[in-house]
Symmetry: C2
DNA sequence: TTTTATCTTGTTTATTTGGTCAGGAATTTT
DNA sequence: AAAATTCCTGACCAAATAAACAAGATAAAA
């Protein structure tokens, strides 16, 4: 296993390529994306792009990997000791944060799933399924202890995912509908507030 | 304006083509889709497909139009006279119904928006923006009359959209995570129940 | 039946695309 | 400074692709 040494130039170019690739894959999908277009966006000759990643599939894998890493890191964990209120506050706010700060990662992921998760089947079947099982169990404990309302934990997780990611995946629609050019810093806080309050309220025991 | 007469064969072939095209556009995106592939899926020679729709763009437009029609028809309207409870019940249940019965339409739409709404800019800017304005106003009235909690109506609409559509757009993920092969009839009822109860609870005045 | 319009499809064309390669430039190692 | 390694890129190629076309088959209208 002879690893290529990673000089500064190499790393710098790779980053440019991955950024460009992310945009290209979002706008045109995996099959519609062209290496030429990625090269143009990165300001490099096509042959150079293919020097770093030997083919299109490789570029895409690298982009996906980046995306999953981000999900892994950025996500606030749900732990039993926090209790339902704090756990949900943490989780929602970290997901909203991610959606606003890095909508592109969310979009890549969304497209991949919509199109049939052809490159992510394994991730969903193993990692994600396990994650949902574990977190559901925690919610169920809180329910059993009557610290939150008895709702289906799995659907609750889906609700949190969908509402938070929506601001990333559909940013175009949201901004157009609200007649705005871009999100602003205060939107993050506003949406976080709205969602946490709404969700916590939906789980309160009267 | 000489319209081509629409014989039975024509309509039948056109339908087959549109169904095939929908699948192809979902799996490969607009740019990645090929006319050949659509033809194969439809069981027709490529030249025949291009006889009915003179080019790829035309096929896509037809698919999009179908999608928007469905949105227009299938959506339960929100009317003031219903009051918040009934209105939300109607709206959520019609959207869930649509998501489960026709996930493909939802996916086509979602992909369009994620990719920058290149073919739907006008729809979002005019129709959708107006729709949100009108419905927000109705929610605001109910809020002013203290018939529901004071939450931001626009974000409330986004919340309903995202949670309901999630079951269509991310069906792959949901099914995999839940270790199931397909949705079943009772899932519709279950999800509708979950969402309406959760949302209404989040809007109740204590 | 004759004529006209609609439908069908094999073939062809021009362009785009993923990927290779050879050879040279720049950098690092010895 | 010599050698080795890494980096860069124009030119090239085979395959795929959107679309046009021509010529025949079928059905409808006269």
């Amino acid at each position: 296993m002879t690893e290529k040494k990673q000089g500064k130039i190499r790393i710098h170019s790779q980053e440019k390529i991955l950024l460009a690739a992310q945009d290209e894959f979002i706008t045109n999908g995996y099959k519609g994306a062209t290496v030429q277009s990625i090269a143009d966006l990165a300001g490099l000759p096509k042959a150079n792009v293919l020097y770093y990643f030997k083919n299109k599939e490789n570029i895409y894998h690298a982009v996906l990997e980046q995306t999953l890493d981000m999900w892994d890191q950025g996500i606030g964990d749900i732990v039993y000791s926090d209790g339902p209120k704090v756990a949900i506050e943490k989780f929602v706010s970290s997901k909203v944060q991610m959606s606003f700060k890095n909508p592109k990662a969310s979009k890549i992921y969304a497209m991949e799933i919509i199109q049939g998760a052809q490159h992510l089947k394994e991730f969903t079947r193993t990692y994600l399924r396990k994650w949902v099982r574990e977190k559901s169990k925690i919610f169920q404990q809180w329910i059993d202890e009557e610290r939150m309302l008895n709702v289906d934990p799995v659907n609750l997780i889906f609700l949190i995912w969908s509402t938070t990611q929506h601001y990333a995946d559909f940013d175009n629609q949201i901004l157009t509908v609200m007649n705005r050019a871009d999100y602003e810093e205060e939107d993050i806080e506003h949406v976080t507030q709205f969602l946490t309050q709404f969700i916590l309220r939906g789980l309160e025991i009267k």
